[in-house]
């Protein structure tokens, strides 16, 4: 674990040098800041608007950061050939993979912290300090971002960057449309399609599980039980994904 942590810190430092990160962060902060522009609305509506836009921006730009940073975390080491020196050291390939994962989590944490801080600052400025529901929403967004990053990182252990970017975005979109997909599957009468659909929508991560912002914005309380169940779902999914990544990095020729 110590060696993974050392590699993770180095990955974090390396990610900090990527321009994409800053561009996405700045655009996210501009969008969050722009939500305050709806001053023609009533105070309550404006607050809803700030929350809605901010939650969506933190999630969407966070997802872009998770995908872009994870995409090149492994292929970058192979292309620059730094992986040769690294693999000659007394580390396992699992140390390397977990180190990359830790680095991605750290970079997501930093970006998430900055975006959330800006959003909370806006709420305080509007004299509506964040409550526990806001905290729950942010927590679920953050763990969703970790999962998105872990999936992209895992796919990077066996696929090309080009495939990975298409796959990760496809999964991000489909993962948010699973409830619609399930409705379609329920309506179909073809057994084969129904079976395949059920399997597919069970395997694909249900990112909508992490989306409670629509409820929180309109003041509907989300129970602790729901947060707990979603966290368990996240944890199990994450463990499986990381195990798959560890398996493929072990097999990979560099």
């Amino acid at each position: 674990m110590k060696k993974s942590w050392i590699i993770g810190l180095n990955t974090f430092k390396e990610s900090l040098r990527k321009k994409t990160l800053y561009i996405l962060l700045v655009v996210a902060l501009i969008v969050i800041g722009a939500s305050k522009a709806f001053s023609f609305l009533t105070a309550e509506e404006e607050l809803k608007m700030i929350k809605d836009v901010s939650f969506s921006s933190i999630e969407f730009f966070g997802a872009l950061i998770a995908i872009f940073m994870s995409l090149t975390a492994i292929s970058g080491e192979i292309e620059k050939r730094t992986i040769y020196t690294l693999f000659s050291k007394p580390i396992t390939r699992q140390n390397f993979f977990m180190g990359k994962f830790i680095g991605i989590v750290l970079i997501l944490l930093l970006n998430f912290f900055l975006m959330s801080l800006f959003f909370i600052g806006l709420l305080i400025f509007k004299k509506s300090p964040p409550d526990i529901q806001v905290a729950k929403t942010l927590l679920l967004i953050f763990i969703e971002l970790i999962l998105i990053g872990a999936i992209t990182l895992t796919v990077a252990t066996f696929a090309s960057d080009a495939f990975n970017i298409i796959f990760s975005f496809f999964l991000y979109i489909v993962g948010h449309l699973i409830s619609y997909g399930n409705q379609l599957v329920d309506r179909t009468e073809n057994f084969v399609l129904k079976g395949l659909g059920k399997i597919l929508f069970t395997i694909i991560p249900n990112y909508e599980n992490f989306n409670i912002r629509d409820k929180v914005v309109v003041g509907i309380e989300v129970s602790r039980n729901y947060i707990f169940k979603t966290s368990v779902y996240w944890f199990l999914y994450l463990v499986v994904i990381l195990l798959i990544g560890s398996y493929f990095i072990q097999k990979r020729e560099v």
């Binding site: 110590k2 060696k3 050392i6 590699i7 180095n10 430092k13 390396e14 040098r17 620059k80 050939r81 730094t82 992986i83 040769y84 020196t85 690294l86 693999f87 000659s88 050291k89 007394p90 580390i91 396992t92 020729e253 560099v254």
Partner: protein, 250 residues
């Protein structure tokens, strides 16, 4: 006593389902403790593939590698091995000391020891004055030298160097040669890959000649020269390769 044993090592690279390229074919050799063993061969002869296989960077198609009594993937074995890749590529945003610290930590070395070794190694490779510069501003020769320092951060028993003088000027080459001989005196075993014959001739106790993935000859330099009735290393090199190519044509 053999410190490195390579037995019937084969590596094929597959292109598609049917086409395979030979990286190494049935290669066997031993490296004795305390010697400098040179792997010679033209470009694409399998030298780097062999070293990468020995360090567990690549997977062999078949064969066995035994280093210090352990297989090539064993992290405990790697604690005693230093590696300098060909044209070393490092994290260019780090400074020399930061790079050495990063690698030192991967060896589980105490911070105090790492810091002491960094100081010593930077003087050894004459980079102490470039301490604060990021690696992206290093010249090719400086990168090669920081690579040598990085390969020594764990004070290894075995040093594996892939083309250590590539990109160095004549003085740099001479200094590297002297360093290798000094390290040998300190009891280190060195495995050196190179296509610079003069360099190998001056430092190596025994050599291996690789060509197209095959090990053509291995042994002491004098022994091989006598065996092939050659007039020096260059002649030996040309003769073994030509002989192999002629057999291939037949």
């Amino acid at each position: 006593m053999s410190i490195i044993e390579v037995k019937e090592l084969t590596k094929y690279y597959y292109i598609g389902r049917n086409k395979k390229i030979v990286g190494l074919e049935n290669v066997s050799f031993n490296v004795e403790e305390g010697e400098i063993y040179g792997i010679l061969g033209p470009n694409g002869s399998g030298k780097t593939t062999c070293l990468k296989l020995m360090l567990g960077i690549l997977y062999p198609t078949s064969g066995e590698i035994n280093i210090l009594g352990k297989d090539q993937f064993n992290p405990e074995m790697k604690k005693n091995v230093g590696f300098l890749p060909e044209n070393p590529y490092y994290y260019d945003y780090l400074t020399g000391p930061e790079l050495l610290k990063f690698y030192g930590r991967l060896f589980d070395l105490p911070e105090k020891i790492i810091n002491e070794r960094i100081e010593k190694l930077l003087y050894l490779v004459k980079l102490h004055e470039a301490k604060k510069l990021p690696l992206r501003s290093y010249s090719k020769g400086m990168l090669e030298r920081i690579g040598v320092a990085a390969s020594l951060i764990n004070d290894p028993k075995i040093l594996i160097l892939d083309e250590p003088t590539t990109g160095l000027d004549p003085i740099g080459c001479m200094e590297t040669r002297d360093l290798l001989l000094q390290l040998k005196k300190e009891g280190k075993t060195i495995l050196l890959s190179s296509h610079f014959l003069s360099e190998v001739e001056k430092v190596c106790d025994r050599i291996a000649i690789f060509h197209r993935g095959y090990l053509l000859a291995t042994g002491g330099l004098k022994e091989l020269i006598d065996r092939y009735n050659a007039d020096g290393l260059e002649d030996l090199f040309v003769k073994t390769i030509e002989e192999f190519d002629k057999k291939g044509e037949k």
